[in-house]
């Protein structure tokens, strides 16, 4: 999902950088307000931890391997604002110390992997796990299942944001880049979900109290969480929604707005022509149904994974 330099058009890169700066700035000030002077060592060391976790390769079939991105996991371990800053530090290291990932594209990469991934992941996690009350905290199985599903959703949504950035940069036609990026990350997201779930299960076994304090106190600075949420939401609205809602219409509108003739961008209806469920007439309805079925399937798998990993006999 790392966008290298050379792919994004200047306006897209600038828009991404603006949103990334707003999001990271808000996250830094919120984290500072929540944790006080403790926030800097916490975020710095955690960023180093995420970096080292990303270097562990998990074997996938056929000699290939994958690794954790960790945005959603970090958000659950540390709270969303500290996770945003830590993920940003990881991406900045990769770019400025090791030369991986673009300099101009850093804004886009921060937006996708350090803002959208943790914020979306945390929102889904929080939704599923429920607000933990003062006396009753959610069960381990529920936490693991929620994180697994949240990681999958966050990975797919971040990939869709990335695809939107590439499509608006006119590097590739949206009818190609969206299905390709999203389809690949539907699978990659499963790996991310499994790794995140395994790591959370192991932490819950080793030191469950580390997670208690990370479910942070009442929001200390409501202003900055609004900015943080807004940055993520605006990123999605800018780069995903023009393509995702009414497919061809939305795209034509964007094309007109950025001054392209429709002939320059090949507009093809029904992005997922090959993912159609037989027997259903409307292509877009079939795509939606396929997406809903797939999402439900992953949700079911997450629940099974949660109860399996949390079972006492397994530990």
């Amino acid at each position: 999902m790392h966008v290298p330099d050379g792919f994004l058009s200047p306006p897209v890169a600038i828009a991404c950088a603006t949103l990334a700066v707003a999001g990271v700035g808000a996250a830094a000030s919120r984290s500072r307000a929540l944790l006080g002077s403790r926030s800097v060592p916490r975020m710095g060391v955690t960023a180093a931890f995420i970096f080292s976790a990303q270097m562990i390769n998990f074997p996938v079939a056929g000699g290939t391997s994958g690794h954790l991105v960790g945005g959603a996991l970090a958000a659950v371990l540390l709270g969303p604002s500290a996770a945003v800053v830590a993920m940003t530090a990881v991406l900045a290291m990769q770019c400025l110390v090791f030369g991986d990932g673009g300099l101009l594209a850093l804004g886009a990469n921060v937006l996708n992997m350090a803002v959208v991934h943790p914020v979306v992941g945390f929102a889904v996690y929080r939704l599923l796990v429920g607000r933990d009350g003062a006396q009753r905290s959610p069960s381990a199985a529920r936490r693991i299942a929620s994180l697994a599903f949240a990681s999958w959703v966050a990975t797919v949504v971040a990939a869709a944001t990335c695809a939107g950035e590439l499509a608006l940069s006119r590097v590739a036609s949206p009818s190609v880049v969206f299905p390709a990026m999203v389809a690949i990350h539907l699978a990659i997201g499963l790996g991310e979900a499994l790794i995140a779930a395994l790591v959370l299960a192991a932490i819950l076994r080793l030191r469950p109290e580390l997670l208690e304090r990370s479910h942070l106190a009442p929001s200390a600075s409501p202003g900055s969480i609004v900015v943080l949420g807004l940055a993520a939401a605006l990123g999605l609205a800018l780069f995903v929604s023009p393509f995702a809602c009414r497919w061809p219409d939305g795209l034509e509108r964007v094309a007109e707005r950025v001054g392209l003739e429709p002939s320059q961008v090949q507009l093809t209806a029904a992005p997922m022509r090959d993912y159609v469920i037989p027997g259903i007439k409307s292509a877009s309805l079939a795509t939606s149904l396929a997406a809903a079925a797939g999402t439900l399937l992953v949700f079911g798998l997450s629940c099974a994974l949660g109860s399996w990993l949390a079972a006492p006999s397994r530990s």
């Binding site: 290298p4 330099d5 050379g6 792919f7 994004l8 058009s9 200047p10 990271v24 830094a28 000030s29 984290s31 500072r32 002077s37 800097v40 060592p41 975020m43 710095g44 060391v45 955690t46 960023a47 180093a48 931890f49 970096f51 080292s52 976790a53 990303q54 270097m55 562990i56 998990f58 074997p59 391997s65 800053v85 940003t88 530090a89 990881v90 900045a92 290291m93 400025l96 110390v97 090791f98 030369g99 991986d100 673009g102 300099l103 101009l104 590439l166 590097v171 590739a172 036609s173 190609v176 390709a180 499994l194 790794i195 395994l198 790591v199 192991a202 932490i203 030191r207 580390l210 090949q266």
Partner: protein, 204 residues
């Protein structure tokens, strides 16, 4: 994402490029990358000259040319993987070639910046550019503990490999995930120790 070689860098070699002011290098790299973003598809061929120029700078920076090419080549699968998506449209081949060349040139420029500029110098530039102190300190600490934590993770994996059977498919996911989990638990304790040490020395 594997291999110690990627963590070795040439940032502390002495050369005219290394002695150049870091703010100048950062600005030059940024301007070059922005300029490349503006190059239209039809003119991208000229970037070959820029690429050759960067190789010349790498030579002046005493980065071995083989290592420089190898570092740029590491990024190539990612570049081509994304660029392939551009083939499926009108003028696809031209866009594909232009994008691949643009991206390769940018990667070369960023690699050169990263490997001729110590990170502390980049932090100094960012500090003078009024980047908030919280971020500067976080980045500084990340850089300081990055190598410590990567080495510690390696040590854990080595220790585990020495004590257990390796299955044919490498290590199982569960064992690898527990390495990450232990690393997190240790990093939380380490963050607390560092915080106390910083407080003791007047940090607030």
């Amino acid at each position: 994402m594997s291999g110690v070689h990627r963590l070795r860098s040439y940032e502390h070699v002495d050369s005219p490029v290394h002695r150049a002011p870091p703010s100048l290098k950062l600005l030059a790299a940024l301007l070059l990358v922005i300029a490349i973003a503006f190059v239209p598809v039809g003119r991208a061929g000229w970037l070959v000259l820029v690429l050759l120029g960067l190789a010349g700078v790498a030579r002046a920076a005493r980065v071995p040319i083989g290592a420089f090419v190898a570092r740029v080549a590491i990024a190539e699968p990612f570049i081509l993987g994304v660029a392939v998506l551009s083939l499926f449209q009108g003028r696809g081949v031209a866009i594909f070639l232009a994008v691949a060349l643009k991206s390769t040139t940018c990667v070369a420029a960023v690699q050169l910046l990263a490997h001729s500029t110590p990170f502390q110098d980049i932090l100094d530039v960012l500090r003078r550019a009024r980047v908030p102190a919280v971020l500067i300190h976080t980045l500084g600490l990340t850089h300081r503990y990055l190598f410590v934590l990567v080495e510690e993770t390696r040590r854990m994996q080595r220790a585990r490999a020495a004590r257990t059977w390796e299955s044919r498919r490498g290590s199982s996911w569960k064992a690898l995930a527990s390495v990450i989990a232990v690393s997190f638990v240790r990093s939380a304790a380490r963050a607390e120790r560092i915080y106390v040490a910083m407080r003791a020395r007047g940090w607030s």
